[in-house]
Point group: C2
Chain length 138, copies 2
DNA sequence: TTATGTGCAAAACATTTGCAGGAGT
DNA sequence: ACTCCTGCAAATGTTTTGCACATAA
């Protein structure tokens, strides 16, 4: 969970981190690959996967294991929750007051050692809501 | 989200549902396949996937999109939360008081129409905790 | 110089799908 | 009979990995 001492600062890593920092969406590995490839056309998809994984392990970025088929990555490390649109799959941040006691409450009612939690909301994003409205007026 | 009118009651479906009901774990599609195959050796993995998906859509069972690489299924439909062991990947239920206002709080601080939420705790399960203790005494 | 990282391609998984034959209603 | 469903196998999509060469420290 911490920056490894012998992790080299390569061009690939710099650019992956830069591109991830540019967006507020929560891109999949493949989306990061597409973004990075515009600046580094010969980068391999494997490199993107390897580095996203490594950065997530060292805590530089966040790996979101939300619903859907692909993992998503986030340059914002501060704890926050997510909403996923059930219609288009888009993932947004959500900022609400976190009860810090929630882990304690969970630990009291289980025999696990609780390390953390994540709340994933599901709903319809504004854009899809518009589309649905438009459709229902046929 | 509701039972389709013309969904046939086949042997395969009955047995999948029975086997899923027998366990309190949250098996992956492949684990369900293994369980069912003991009674129905010629069943195809595709059939298991198709039916789990169908049952989840009609609300008979729950499809858990928790972290990890595979989806998991649960015969218990009543709303509840989950803990996933970061060490062995095991998933257990967790029963805590749900603040029913939590969706409202989220809706107030976003422009999504919030439909629901899921909390996934992460921690170490009792068995892995024991193992870690044993190791640290080397 | 040398351990670590990269590109590439193949492999490994998880899941979905097309189709011809089989089974519920 | 007439759909819907199943088994099988092939296809698809995502992520991981082996290896020879390249590169940061």
């Amino acid at each position: 969970m911490e920056q490894l001492p012998n992790m080299r600062l390569t061009t690939q890593r710099q650019i992956i981190l830069e591109e991830l920092g540019k967006v507020t969406s929560h891109p999949t590995a493949n989306e990061v690959y597409d973004m990075v490839r515009k600046r580094l056309p010969r980068i391999g998809l494997g490199t993107v996967y390897r580095n996203l994984e490594l950065m997530a392990d060292s805590g530089i970025i966040l790996k979101l294991e939300v619903g859907g088929t692909q993992k998503r990555f986030d340059a914002t490390v501060a704890p926050h929750y997510h909403v996923r649109c059930t219609s288009c799959g888009k993932v947004d941040d959500i900022d609400i007051e976190v009860q810090s006691q929630i882990n304690q409450v969970a630990e009291n009612s289980s025999n696990y050692m609780i390390l953390g939690h994540h709340i994933e909301f599901s709903g319809i994003c504004p854009k899809c809501l518009e589309e649905k409205k438009a459709l229902s007026l046929h």
